[in-house]
């Protein structure tokens, strides 16, 4: 069933990860309008267990809204972006760059409502330029003419944001590196680096800062799974902080749905800390309410990047 659904939905970039929830009769008028909650979640290649753990999350949201919940797992950034933009899903968790793409497509029909605030109070994360520890590269300047793997055209930390920071620092990423290409995901980027396909790659990092080091990110998760060894890598440059991923809703859904799902998600770390951990959120962190304004710098970065490409100013 799962494979068949994936095939059916592949054309629009979505795989149906877990169909339906406990069938419940809608409780009121807005529930009758909605019938079900369709949530897009980004599949985690470096943590395949996350889909199984999302079952409890689905149950929690189902109980909170009184509606069956369908989780749509997307294998790439574009799948989530298009699902939200087309209205195939009602709500999605999406990085700033992805939301900027959605915003460019449907504007006010999508609205960020929540982002994660870490225990330390910050609401951002970082891009990290990763090289092999046994390589001679010690700074970004050492990578002139070398190969670089980006994550995805829609990735905030793995493409948009670090490129802008490089330009601010006098490095034109389109001419400075010898060759660059997209790995397709953070995990793929780390794997490609490990396999020698790139000299360096840029991925997301969190749970710390450049001064104190990081504790979360694709290569950390992969190391915990035993896929790679942390000691094989070195971080030689960082950019950030970048606004954390947003929970984005379709604004053409009933306002009571938006309020209920926002309330349920905001209450999650207090009402059910186990489920909070299950969805990959750190202890001590919470959701905090945001608006489009919070992502305005990312929206501008993306628009500038596309405009420069169209004008031929950038590759």
């Amino acid at each position: 069933m799962r494979r068949r659904s994936g095939v059916i939905l592949a054309a629009i970039g979505l795989g149906l990860a877990a169909c339906g929830g406990e069938a419940k009769a809608p409780d009121g008028a807005w529930q009758s309008q909605m019938r079900e909650v369709r949530m897009a979640v980004r599949g985690s290649e470096d943590d395949p267990m996350i889909t199984r753990r999302l079952t409890a999350y689905k149950t929690y949201i189902g109980k909170a809204t009184g509606l069956p919940v369908k989780l749509y797992e997307s294998s790439d950034y574009n799948g989530t972006i298009q699902a939200l933009s087309s209205g195939q899903v009602d709500i999605a968790t999406i990085a700033g760059g992805g939301y900027a793409n959605v915003d460019a497509q449907i504007g006010e029909l999508a609205q960020p409502i929540l982002t994660v605030r870490q225990a330390e109070g910050d609401i951002g994360y970082y891009s990290g330029l990763l090289v092999m520890a046994n390589s001679p590269y010690r700074s970004i300047q050492d990578l002139k003419g070398k190969t670089l793997g980006y994550v995805d055209f829609n990735s905030t930390s793995g493409y948009l944001f670090p490129r802008a920071v490089m330009r601010e620092q006098g490095i034109d990423p389109d001419t400075f590196f010898g060759r660059s290409s997209f790995a397709g995901g953070h995990t793929q980027a780390v794997m490609a680096l490990d396999n020698g396909q790139f000299d360096a790659t840029i991925i997301n990092m969190g749970g710390g800062d450049p001064e104190h080091g990081f504790t979360t990110g694709a290569h950390f998760t992969m190391a915990r799974r035993g896929v790679v060894d942390l000691d094989d890598f070195r971080i030689i440059w960082t950019a950030g902080p970048i606004p954390n991923s947003a929970v984005v809703v379709r604004t053409d859904r009933p306002q009571p749905f938006i309020d209920a799902v926002r309330g349920a998600m905001a209450a999650l770390p207090y009402d059910d800390p186990e489920v909070w951990r299950d969805i990959g959120q750190p202890d001590g962190a919470t959701f905090t309410a945001v608006t489009r304004e919070h992502y305005a710098p990312i929206i501008k970065l993306r628009a500038d990047d596309i405009a420069a490409r169209r004008s031929g100013e950038r590759q």
Partner: protein
């Protein structure tokens, strides 16, 4: 056939609910005199009107103001089903904790989340609880607010103020704190839960880097005041109320300024029993 029956049932249920009158939301407000629930008077402050109007629009129901004389009376009215929301303190909530729960607090400007705090010791330590740490030396996991001031406040709310412990030191970060605990420079370590998680989560599958440590205490700071609702409030209303309030500083600043007060940055959800201790207090 089964689907058809279910669908028909859902339609009938929806129709019945559509005809049912929507109950008002009744908010307790402490003032000089008690009185029956009523719409806000015309001379109510503009911010209060904005707050009530926001709730009325978003909950699609009438919002009534219910004058009570103090938090205790508000708690009793809440438990008795005479009001639906009331701002309570610990004493007022404690008397009705079997019928009500806290849902929201206000977070002050610059303050952190109500962080869970973890106090740990070596597994070989004789200490088994916070009470056993009277006079013990402590190490905190860093000088930052999340690592030092916030955990101290959580400990104080359980009676463990500075005088309860022995010598206290502040390490550079959580890893340095763990090193000091392990080499005997402190008898217990205080971290926020996020730091504890980072410290203990290994890089390999199933690896526990804190197998040599034991948790003696894990709590959040007890809240001074919180908005509370009855336990039998529907999930729909409770979560909608939370969803409206946590975004109010963005969506309705005038309403937020009146409802949350001048020092508040935003509303923050709480666990059900945020107003009372979740374990024994210590100290004098």
């Amino acid at each position: 056939m089964r689907r058809l029956i279910l669908a028909a049932g859902a339609v009938l249920l929806s129709a019945a609910q559509a005809q049912a009158p929507t109950l008002p939301l009744r908010i307790a407000e402490v003032g000089p005199a008690a009185g029956p629930c009523a719409p806000l008077p015309a001379n109510a402050p503009a911010g209060q009107k904005a707050y009530y109007q926001l709730l009325a629009e978003r909950l699609q129901t009438e919002v009534l103001n219910c004058p009570v004389t103090d938090a205790g009376a508000a708690a009793q009215a809440l438990a008795a089903g005479q009001v639906d929301m009331a701002r309570l303190d610990g004493a007022a909530y404690g008397a009705v904790s079997d019928k009500t729960r806290s849902v929201l607090i206000t977070r002050s400007r610059g303050a952190l989340n109500r962080l869970p705090v973890v106090v740990s010791a070596l597994k070989s330590s004789k200490a088994e609880s916070l009470a056993d740490l009277a006079g013990a030396s402590l190490v905190f996991g860093g000088p930052m607010q999340a690592a030092h001031q916030a955990p101290r406040a959580a400990l104080r709310s359980y009676g463990a103020d500075d005088g309860f412990f022995g010598a206290q030191r502040v390490a550079q970060d959580y890893e340095a704190a763990a090193a000091q605990l392990r080499n005997g420079e402190a008898q217990a370590m205080v971290l926020h839960a996020g730091a504890w998680q980072k410290l203990c989560r290994g890089d390999q599958p199933g690896e526990d880097l804190c197998a040599d440590l034991k948790v003696l205490w894990r709590q959040r700071q007890v809240a001074d005041q919180a908005w509370a609702v009855r336990l039998d409030m529907t999930d729909d209303w409770r979560f909608r109320l939370i969803g409206i309030h946590v975004a109010m500083h963005n969506e309705a600043p005038d309403a937020f300024a009146w409802a949350a007060g001048p020092d508040a940055e935003e509303y923050e959800p709480t666990e059900a029993k945020a107003l009372i201790h979740q374990g024994p207090t210590v100290g004098s």
